[in-house]
Subunit: 155 residues, 2 copies
Amino acid sequence: MLLSKSCVYGLRASVFLALHADREYIPISEISEKLKISFHFLTKILQLLTQKGLLVSYRGPHGGVALTRPPKEVIIYDVVNAIDGDEIFTGCILSLPGCGNQTPCPMHESWTLVRNKIRTLFLTTSLADLAKGVKDNNLRLVDIEQLISAPADKV
Amino acid sequence: MLLSKSCVYGLRASVFLALHADREYIPISEISEKLKISFHFLTKILQLLTQKGLLVSYRGPHGGVALTRPPKEVIIYDVVNAIDGDEIFTGCILSLPGCGNQTPCPMHESWTLVRNKIRTLFLTTSLADLAKGVKDNNLRLVDIEQLISAPADKV
DNA sequence: TTAATTTAGGACAAAAGAGTCTTAAATATA
DNA sequence: TATATTTAAGACTCTTTTGTCCTAAATTAA
Ligand code: SF4
Ligand code: SF4
């Protein structure tokens, strides 16, 4: 997988939070139910995002998590970087440790070009962009088969 | 990692074989020593490439492995596809199973564009291209630190 | 024919990723 | 204060990936 499972779950949950940015804290249990992600696993991932400063959390009744910044200001680069690190944006294709621009491997130049496309995509896409796609075009964040079995729960 | 370890090792070994395409069968032990890859692990990977038809193998003294086709005709897409499958070329970024063009997620369009860049790079790069880079520009296939400790073994 | 070389194949172990579960701490409300 | 709600933290299990090791089969050469 290009992104780890944790990262994908973290991204989906972040978009969900962006879609509900008008509300107060949102309990992780609600996110996990709506997005069909294991509650405990998602909790761990969101704890990480909280530690990295992307989310704020609040314990107790009416508690939950919320985005620290408006969805427009949160680029998905930050979400990915917080969970998976920046290897996908800066790493190499042949994975030769210790190489650099002075002694690049045969794929360095062409790979760097493509890698920058990936980087740019993640740098220029915000949670608001993704949330807008979901709202405007009636898109979805959960598996289509799960949608079919419970269409009322569409997010 | 974008590509699995197995895939990276398989690619490096393939480029090594391209660099020695004029020779007969090359023992896996030689490849593993020159490229500092575990012999037994590399053997497994090259067995897979042999099963997929990218290499031919021959047992016994003077045996080893060799490319089935001239390096110019082997695109690295095929090597990656043989080892890691085509997920990197066809897979999605949010990993929602069961989605499609009819019901794309918010990142589908932009991601498809970037993904095609990756695909094109791997479709248009041959083992000969990589081997040429190694020969012409004095590049390398092994970790630079390993080079420093044994510069005579440079490949 | 015997010994040496080399790939084939599969069992096994270690490490990392993914996921589950339990307990503790914080908070709100009755 | 007591109880319910909710995140925090860490132990634990399961699966996949990565890597090691041993034996079998094919081939060459003495
Ligand atoms: S030279 Fe570039 S592509 Fe090649 S191994 Fe190094 S960072 Fe990766
Ligand atoms: S719509 Fe496209 S990018 Fe989105 S989950 Fe499906 S394949 Fe992936």
